[in-house]
């Protein structure tokens, strides 16, 4: 009986929303916060209702028993009066009492059932006939000067019979009790309505601010998905969970932007560095096909084709190796290796070439062990040596390349130094990227992948690769973990 109005209130509130706001309202209602809140609201309402109902019934019971006690006491008193002064005394007393304003109800009927005195004008049939010791609730109409059609009331009454057949009814109106229940009911209804309204208003504001920030995340993510990588989440500076989430997501977006930029650079470079040899390859194939009547020319063109193919394959191999090493999902097996072996073998491989080119190749190696993969580290070293031989020549004077292994503060440093022109400090980071070739080396053979591969291998070894100034020259240092 009390729940219904509350439910109606809620649905009415929902229905009152203007249609234009329905989607916003719908979104608010679909949030987890609001769903949870509605559950709490329902539970709270039910508990309140149960509490009030219990309170009401207890108070009802107390009031009823008090009224019954009053009726019984008066009945006892009237019986006493009857013993003292007979019917007449009772009639007189009742007559006077029934004229007083108040809750008391009285009626005396003669043996044939006709009312003599009292303040009741209408009673259901047979009430007066059922005399007894119990107090019953009956509807009645009070005798009054104003004829009020709505003056139907309920009273607790008890009827007793005097010796001579006269019947006396004593009762108390329960209007007070009903009024009290009504008041409590009203209060409960008001409390429930206010609770629901306040709850909805609070949740509306809370979930709107939460939604706003989540929507911002969604919006930014959508923008990034659509290709605009510049979007970032704003911070409120409160360092709440949303701020922390935003910081984390912004980091992720930054990383993504870096990766995308890297990918774009690489694909641009691939486009250039693979398309150029492919074009050359195509031209040579055409030349070989051209009917010049000169078999030697065709043959040399075909040899050029094979050379170009080989260089393309080499570029692909280097790219694949870098990709494989960089993906890092296949962790390479690092084992303790003697660096003097690796350095010795690689320098031995290159020594004749260096000798032929007039480069003095020296090694200075302390027998240090480090965690490494022999094949990959040898490849890195070979690439560094190759670079030094190609680009590390001084303009005048003898060229020198030094391979060294030194131990330093928890790391084993593997270094390749030349006495050539070196790399300007501003370019040192850039040359490690794929396909980056400095202007002065543009015309010499090479894929621009050598140092990228070294960098990738160093990363895979957990060993930083540093390019530094050997003054003069370039010194590439890989800091390996000691074994």
């Amino acid at each position: 009986m009390i729940v219904m109005p509350a439910a109606r209130e809620a649905s009415a509130k929902k229905a009152r929303q203007p249609p234009g706001q329905m989607s916003a309202v719908g979104r608010v209602f679909r949030t987890t916060a609001v769903k949870l809140s509605l559950v709490y609201l329902a539970v709270f309402s039910l508990v309140t209702i149960a509490l009030v109902t219990y309170l009401l019934s207890s108070i009802n019971a107390i009031l009823t028993s008090e009224l019954s006690d009053a009726v019984n006491a008066e009945v006892r008193e009237l019986l006493n009066q009857y013993e003292i002064g007979g019917v007449l005394r009772v009639v007189t007393l009742v007559d006077s009492r029934s004229r007083q304003p108040g809750a008391g109800l009285y009626l005396i009927t003669d043996p044939s059932g006709n009312p003599l005195v009292g303040n009741i004008s209408d009673l259901p049939e047979g009430v007066v006939d059922r005399a007894g010791t119990s107090v019953r609730a009956v509807p009645y109409r009070r005798l009054s000067h104003e004829t009020d059609a709505n003056s139907h009331h309920v009273a607790l009454v008890r009827v007793f019979t005097l010796d001579n057949g006269f019947k006396v009814l004593v009762g108390r109106d329960v209007g007070e009790r009903e009024k009290f229940s009504g008041l409590i009911g009203e209060a409960l209804r008001a409390v429930l309505v206010v609770t629901v309204l306040l709850g909805l208003v609070t949740w509306w504001f809370v979930s709107r601010s939460v939604l706003k920030r989540i929507d911002q995340v969604t919006h930014t993510a959508n923008r990034i998905v659509a290709g605009d990588l510049s979007g970032r989440l704003s911070l409120t500076g409160s360092n709440d969970e949303f701020d922390r989430l935003a910081v984390g997501l912004n980091h992720m977006f930054d990383r993504l932007t870096d990766l995308m930029r890297g990918l774009k650079e690489v694909s641009d470079n691939i486009a250039h560095d693979l398309k150029t040899p492919l074009t050359r390859l195509r031209n040579r194939a055409e030349e070989a096909l051209a009917d010049t009547g000169d078999p030697e020319r065709a043959e040399s063109a075909l040899e050029g084709v094979i050379e170009d193919c080989d260089s393309l394959i080499r570029t692909f191999d280097a790219l694949l190796t870098i990709a494989r090493v960089e993906s890092g999902n296949q962790t390479i097996a690092l084992s303790p290796v003697d660096l003097s072996d690796i350095v010795g073998e690689v320098s031995e491989l290159y020594e004749p070439l260096a000798d032929e080119e007039g480069v003095e190749l020296t090694t200075s190696v302390a027998g240090e062990k480090a965690l490494a993969n022999r094949e990959l580290l040898s490849q890195a070293l070979a690439n560094l040596l190759d670079n030094a031989l190609k680009y590390g020549r001084p303009a005048e004077g003898p060229a020198r390349i030094t391979l060294s292994v030194t131990r330093e503060a928890g790391a084993v440093l593997l270094a390749v130094a030349d006495n050539g022109p070196g790399i300007p400090e501003t370019d040192r980071g850039r040359v490690l990227e794929r396909f980056v070739r400095l202007e002065r080396s543009r015309n010499s053979p090479g894929s621009g992948l050598g140092l990228s591969l070294v960098a990738a291998i160093a990363r895979q070894h957990g060993a930083p690769l540093v390019l530094s100034d050997a003054s003069p020259g370039l010194k590439a240092i890989i800091s390996l973990q000691p074994a």
């Binding site: 694949l320 190796t321 491989l349 004749p352 094949e375 070979a382 190759d386 050598g450």
Partner: protein, 226 residues
Amino acid sequence: MRILIIEDDREAAAYLVKALREAGHVADHAADGDSGWNFAEDGGYDVMVVDRMLPRRDGLSIIEGLRTKGDQTPVLILSALGQVDDRVTGLRAGGDDYLPKPYAFSELLARIEALARRRRPGEAETVYRVGELTLDRLSHEVKRGAEEIQLQPREFRLLEYLMKHAGQVVTRTMLLENVWDYHFDPQTNVIDVHMSRLRAKIDKGHDRSLLSTVRGAGYMIRDQAK
């Protein structure tokens, strides 16, 4: 030599078969793993060339099956997967050599012939001979005629490998793999310089040169008089 080629790329296989026949070998071709297995099981091949990724049955599983049966026919694995760990997987499965795609036919042919050589008796020879050049594997003595030649340890191993495969083409990659144990490609042709040094030591001052460069393929040591 009888050579079995298990390769699903028909065009590549047809080219291989044709080229091997031109080189004087007998070549059979199976286009998928199942028929490849049937061919291989019948046996009688000197060398098998197996593509790693095949329809119906994986190349490595064919090799493992053969090895389980006790078939020791030399197998060369062809694969688009060319990284060191792929190579290790291939060799562990029982392959004898591993050639990443794309490859040069001369490289493949040289390797096939080297594989077949492995089976021939003479592996345990202690002295290799090519013409008047002798190499003693135990005493590490190298002589041309009566004249002793001083070689660095690496030069010795280089010559030892060449002489073991005397009369066959040995590619630069084969030398890198077998003499230096490197499976990467040094950007510069460092091998050529080593070879010219070796050639200077063994051929200098002699009318007949034993060590020759095979254009577009590699090197070969042989007695040209024969």
